[in-house]
């Protein structure tokens, strides 16, 4: 059982309320990682954005379907399709509530999800600053899609100003200090020695991030031989412990209502 730590200036009532509402992403295997920084690593078309959308939707949906919490989604790749997010939220609400309640509940769910589009590292840093340091209390889930968006676009000049991405990751560290969760999609940008079991991981992010991240989910798209559909395999591994002992595997398919977890 994951014990929540007391936040500064938090009353006992809010603490207990937080404790009672379970923090769930809609994917059972991922629920154990609430409160940490998790990378979702995969090639193009392997389902990273889908996982993030599903997690964010579950976080913001009203009870009993979700957790009724605030979330922020940093859309650096401009990959989020708002219509798809609406469809996912509506489909999940329709399964739990009557048709008449779907509309207003959908609007209040979408109001809890703050989508920020960043076109450069400076905008990303500024948006993070406003989220962590802003007038409203920081949301408890931060989804970043994706971390590799600015890798090639920064000018690393020798005498010039320092690169901004380490500063962005330091701001994310402040965010994590408030017991929030960070789910980040990380595209495969370098694949110099591809292995058939797709277990390679080539790091390209600075140390400020690799110090923070404790878990990684490796997603791969596979063709399911039996039904002919496209299924996504995911492997959650803990980076601090050796790879062989603690890995949780799960697979999912993408439907209109987000993800359908198979195992």
């Amino acid at each position: 059982m994951f014990l929540l730590s007391l936040a500064p200036d938090e009353s006992a009532r809010t603490y207990l309320r937080r404790l009672r509402r379970p923090r769930s992403f809609g994917i059972p295997a991922l629920d154990a990682v609430a409160g940490e920084a998790v990378e979702i690593y995969g090639e193009s078309g392997s389902g990273k954005t889908e996982v993030l959308m599903h997690a964010v939707a579950t976080w913001a949906l009203p009870e009993p379907v979700g957790g009724r919490r605030e979330a922020v989604y940093f859309d650096n790749d401009f990959r989020l399709c708002r219509r798809r997010l609406r469809t996912i939220v509506e489909a999940r609400l329709r399964a739990a509530f009557d048709e008449s309640e779907v509309g207003p509940r959908r609007d209040e769910t979408l109001a809890r999800i703050n989508v920020v589009r960043c076109a450069s590292t400076l905008e990303f840093l500024a948006a993070l600053e406003l989220v962590v340091n802003g007038d409203t209390p920081a949301p408890s889930l931060c989804a970043v899609d994706s971390l590799g968006a600015f890798v090639w676009r920064e000018d690393k000049v020798a005498d010039g100003p320092p690169s901004l991405s380490p500063a962005a990751f330091r701001t994310i560290a402040r965010f994590l200090a408030n017991d929030a969760t960070v789910l980040a999609a990380k595209p495969v940008l370098f694949n110099n020695k591809p292995r058939p079991d797709s277990s390679t991981h080539e790091e390209y992010l600075p140390r400020e991030w690799t110090r923070l991240v404790k878990r990684r989910v490796r997603v791969v798209a596979v063709e399911d031989a039996s039904s002919g559909k496209r299924v996504f395999d995911a492997r959650l591994c803990d980076l601090e412990k050796p790879a062989s002992s603690t890995t949780t595997n799960f697979s999912f398919a993408v439907t209109d209502a987000g993800l359908a977890v198979i195992t």
Binding site: D77, R79, L130, G148, P161, A167
Partner: protein, 426 residues
């Protein structure tokens, strides 16, 4: 790099931050510094520093509106449109990938023509594809019913390198952008993952395309070539060129194969229920030819030769023998074709109407023969007299009886209406 003074911070704070070592003059520098370090080195309170950072952050972020309506442009092929939804969607970067001479540039030209006909401006960015031909473009436009006004909506630019491409992308604001083909421009510089500057150019182009699509709401269509695939994981012998960095640029990837099939490899806004669906369908090339598959050109004339025409129809003709008052006197066994399949080469025809007035009976004013007319059963087609067709092109003829005397009762049973339906339309 905006200065702090212009970002809305008060003068005292700006002065204080400038005394730090190294000094903080710009918004970037303020946000980049660690908060704890600022608190330690600077005489301002923690609250003041946090407020200053908030102001600086707010000044960086502008507000952006969401593109309002989602529209799409048809690809010109029914099968591909069905695969994609309605067509290529606006607000996304779509990638067309396939081996050479698979029809990618043709498909792009058709999309551009369709967009121009819908009244949208098109930017065609030519980036070294070696397949651009103005004549072919004009042919496609005219075949779809375009005119000079539609042609004027398409602007062509030639980009010499990646930076010129990015400049064109950022400067223009047209709703439809076609880029053909950035791989020819960028691939030589990539050096197989080793050249950092080449990858940076690639990332710049990819991001410029994404900005135009997502922030500008434009329909962006990019053509990509293929390279050989080393691992045997997939059934395809090739994979898209330009490497891993480029794969994240496109939200929609359509593969065109040698054997005239199209496969949808990636589509971010629709969950793919089935594996990449393969559609056997006529390519845009076949549909743009004036003779769709299976049809031959029959030539015909009236008795004196003043009227000559051509008609696209199958070589196996199904004709109707009608016993209404007019057809019985003319004894014209006729077969029906859609209006677009008939072309009048010379001469003019006189028109006679009677009865309901729906049918337009056309005949040559000199010899009185009716080579074709617009029947009451198919107002959207022509009924061509079989015996006016010159010998040699009809391989078989089957004649059905049409009870024109009891027209209203017979028309639905006859099955004649299907002959004037245009087969190439959706």
């Amino acid at each position: 790099m905006p200065l702090l003074g212009r970002a809305g911070l008060d003068a005292a704070t700006v002065e204080e931050l400038a005394t730090l070592k190294p000094p903080v003059h710009t918004v970037e520098a303020l946000l980049e510094r660690d908060v704890e370090q600022l608190v330690r080195d600077c005489r301002l309170t923690r609250e003041a520093i946090l407020a200053a950072r908030r102001e600086a952050a707010r000044s960086c972020l502008g507000s952006r509106e969401e593109p309002a309506v989602a529209w799409a442009v048809s690809s010109g092929s029914a099968g591909i449109d069905a695969l994609l939804g309605r067509g290529f969607p606006a607000g996304y970067v779509s990638e067309l990938v396939g081996p050479t001479v698979a029809g990618k540039s043709q498909l792009c030209a058709t999309v551009a023509a369709n967009a121009a006909l819908c009244g949208r401006d098109v930017d065609w960015l030519e980036a070294g594809s070696c397949s651009f031909s103005e004549d072919r473009f004009r042919e496609i436009l005219v075949a779809r019913g375009g005119d000079a006004a539609a042609a004027a909506r398409i602007s062509v630019f030639f980009a010499a390198d990646a930076h010129a491409l990015v400049r064109y992308l950022d400067r223009r604001t047209s709703p439809v952008v076609v880029v053909d083909a950035p791989s020819a421009l960028i691939a030589p510089n990539l050096g197989g993952d080793r050249n950092v500057l080449g990858h940076r150019d690639l990332a710049l182009v990819a991001h410029a395309l994404e900005r135009r699509a997502k922030l500008g709401g434009a329909l962006v269509l990019a053509v990509n070539s293929t390279v050989r695939r080393d691992d045997a994981a997939s059934h395809l012998a090739w994979k898209p060129a330009l490497g891993l960095t480029w794969t994240y640029a496109a939200s929609l990837r359509l593969a065109l194969h040698d054997d005239r099939t199209a496969t949808l490899l990636k589509h971010s806004s629709r969950p793919l229920e089935a594996p990449p669906a393969t559609y056997r369908q006529t390519t845009p090339q076949a549909e743009l030819d004036s003779r769709p598959r299976g049809l031959v050109v029959h030539r015909g004339r009236c008795h004196c030769g003043a009227v000559a025409f051509e008609v696209d129809a199958p070589s196996n003709i199904v004709a109707f023998d009608c016993n209404c008052s007019s057809c019985a006197m003319r004894r014209n066994t006729h077969f029906v074709v859609p209006k677009s399949n008939l072309r009048l080469l010379r001469g003019s025809l006189t028109c006679y109407r009677f009865g309901s007035g729906v049918a337009q009976h056309l005949f040559c004013g000199v010899c009185g023969i009716s080579p074709f007319y617009s029947p009451r059963s198919n107002p959207d087609g022509y009924a061509v007299t079989v015996h006016c067709i010159e010998r040699g092109t009809i391989t078989s003829l089957s004649v059905k009886q049409f009870d024109g005397v009891n027209w209203e009762a017979f028309i639905d049973k006859s099955g004649i209406r299907v002959f004037s339906r245009n087969r190439t339309k959706t």
